[in-house]
Symmetry: C2
Subunit: 419 residues, 2 copies
């Protein structure tokens, strides 16, 4: 009953109906551009309120050093096609769509409903919504390099994560050939973006798992109020800020010095570790305040490190219990290992035992996971917090550098070497 | 390892740590009170931006005629205790907590972290957040009336919903002795509220199922932009507005005329039908624009009824296909049946087949479901939309009248008759 034949003459109706909406959106995008938010430095602090767009192009992908948006939709995809050219075409189509959606425009040019006889180019649910600082960030998982003759392009730094103490990983929430991280201040904008990329990828890729995050737990804007995780504690107080160019260079962006010929395509990129961390919040909620504060190494109200008065006071690690979370995760305990955190709280209904399926969807960006997440997570093996949490999903992705301009596309540095 | 013994002397530490945060919150609540939003009439249109509190007390519960907030956490509970006095105590404790949380205050009085040796009265993750127009609305399901000697108090209007054409209900997403609808502009505030009520109810009730909604699909403020559902269409254009006192009285609030002696406790209340409606969005997205518009009976861009130019133009039903959604759901097709819709879009990851588990969590309030949801849903049996949706969860609840003042409590009219 669905007629997908393509007539050459657009119907008057689709031109009237959709053209009008297109004008309204164009005006919104133009207005938004006045307060254009940038990645890294040069961030307009009013962008969150105005719903302005974030610049899609740059040396690095947006969505890493970008001030953390309020909501997340993260999707891991598996590749279904074995046709490299088809896959590259999809990456180019994705890039065009991502460029438009992050600017607050619908997928598809012109009277974007297209022909009445064809499915709309855009699914429509973000129509009339602000750009909402949407960022779309692509990553390539280890398993992608088993396809398309990419084996010799896999960077050594894209390791398979070791099994950590206490891991209880569900393969249906782990891994993936590709990932897209969609962050926006409006969840409908983030969900719309993932859905439209999945739609464009139909037949080439399929969603392996996806995760909605409703509340950011880490900030990359230290002047803003530090968010709290679902254990009620401030989280990410000492996170790398989007404006700390030196720390970003040192800990987040892959440098020319890090790569060899086969991994040169990663220069300017980063590595992402995603972990779905279930919290046993019902148990936590029956734990005394003192115990909770001892476990974190901070007080709950203010967020100050043990023995200090203010959240941002320098922690004195020796004042904390040896297994306090802040102490174990601190760079001084881990040879300086530092990661940029961008995690979100999640609540996905109940688990069949009357307990909320809630926790932290942990996202960490780093220059090299072997000097970032891995040593930190090993250090946390004795963390008392482990009695209240469980890692149930895990994935690692190589995050390629940014899309430089309107002719560039996601993955070009990886796929165009021989092209 | 958890010490829950209660010492009489609050520790200096907890007083310092939590007292400071309490002051900050007190100031926020005081500031918010200036722009206090009200249920029904007298709505401050700036409340959404200021994050102001919604008044908890009133003849009707808040969260029905209240302007629809952006986010939802809905939980259905089953009762575990058979001790009526214990259950009533929990309802009173819930009321106290709900009164505080909707005002933007943490659960628990004073230095609300309480004693360091005891679990905190509040789980903490909403600390420092605005009241965010949080409303908490309680409902009683049919199965509750099989407990506590309530059988003769069950209103006739609280029917068991019939099986509808196409229903594919999952019992793990259906039913429940009790429900709490938490709506707020900040999802963390809504999640925090449900979690703290579940915590207070520990041992007395247990969550049966819960649902997060990320985007409202119906508005009760016609002056605002009409939201779009995940099919990309504007939804709820002709919904009952929170300011339409006459229509609320006619279609939403239970009147004295509706009740007999056994159901007199429902005067001023309402009836809620909740349906989890999965959308097969991948199939929908491959359907032509013309087909989509024919199915809804509106155009996609503007939302105008067939043959009309503007969204709010009066629909001419005979211009639509006989099985168009707008036509089938219209009061003129259903002897005037009218419901107040308050639904939310959801996306709960994937379904194991690479498809997004997404759709509409439909919430409809009405004076009598036998003259509201039931005839409308029966009429929709021939809706072509049914090829793209499936009802997978269902519940019905009697929504008691509002809590009148600070001495009143949720369910008093039901539970105090013999007390």
């Amino acid at each position: 009953m669905t007629d997908t034949s393509k007539s050459q003459a657009p119907s008057r109706r689709s031109l009237i109906g959709w053209g009008g909406a297109g004008l309204a959106l164009g005006a919104a995008a133009a207005g938004g551009a006045v307060a254009m938010a940038r990645t890294g430095n040069d961030v307009d602090p009013t962008a969150a309120e105005t719903g302005a767009p974030v610049e899609f192009h740059g040396a690095h992908q947006a969505g890493i050093a970008t001030p953390v948006q309020d909501r997340l939709h993260f999707a891991a995809f598996d590749v279904e096609t074995d046709d490299r050219a088809e896959f590259v075409r999809m990456l180019k189509d994705w890039t065009v769509a991502a460029r438009r959606m992050t600017a607050g425009q619908p997928v598809g040019e012109g009277a974007y409903g297209g022909l009445a006889e064809a499915p709309p180019d855009d699914t429509g649910e973000a129509l009339g919504l602000k750009p909402s600082r949407l960022t779309l960030t692509i990553g390539f998982g280890p398993s992608l390099f088993e396809k398309f003759g990419l084996a010799d392009m896999r960077p050594e730094a894209l390791v398979d994560l070791p099994k950590f103490s206490g891991d209880n990983l569900d393969k249906n929430r782990s891994g993936g050939d590709l990932c897209i991280q969609a962050c926006a201040d409006d969840p409908q904008v983030a969900v719309h973006a993932i859905r439209n990329l999945a739609r464009i990828g139909f037949g080439k890729v399929v969603i392996r798992w996806s995760q909605l995050g409703f509340g950011k737990t880490s900030s990359t804007t230290p002047e803003a109020q530090t968010p709290r995780n679902l254990m009620g504690f401030k989280d990410g107080t000492r996170n790398i800020a989007g404006t700390e160019t030196d720390r970003l260079k040192k800990f987040v962006w892959v440098d020319e010095k890090d790569v060899d010929e086969k991994s040169a395509w990663m220069t300017g990129g980063s590595y992402l570790v995603a972990r779905r961390i279930r919290m046993h919040i019902e148990t936590w909620d029956r734990t005394s305040l003192q115990e909770q504060e001892d476990i974190f190494g901070r007080d709950k109200g203010e967020g100050a490190p043990v023995g200090k008065a203010k959240e941002r006071d320098e922690p004195f690690l020796k004042a904390m219990k040896p297994e306090a979370h802040v102490r174990l995760a601190h760079p001084d305990t881990n040879d300086g290992a530092t990661i940029l955190r961008r995690g979100y709280s999640f609540t996905d209904g109940t688990d069949g035992l009357g307990r909320l399926d809630a926790g932290l969807f942990f996202l960490a960006y780093q220059r090299d996971v072997r000097k970032g997440f891995i040593p930190i997570q090993r250090s946390l093996a004795i963390d008392v917090l482990n009695e209240y949490i469980q890692h149930v999903g895990s994935a690692i992705f190589a995050i390629p550098p940014g899309v430089r301009d309107k002719d560039d596309w996601w993955g070009r540095t990886l796929f165009s070497r021989e092209a």
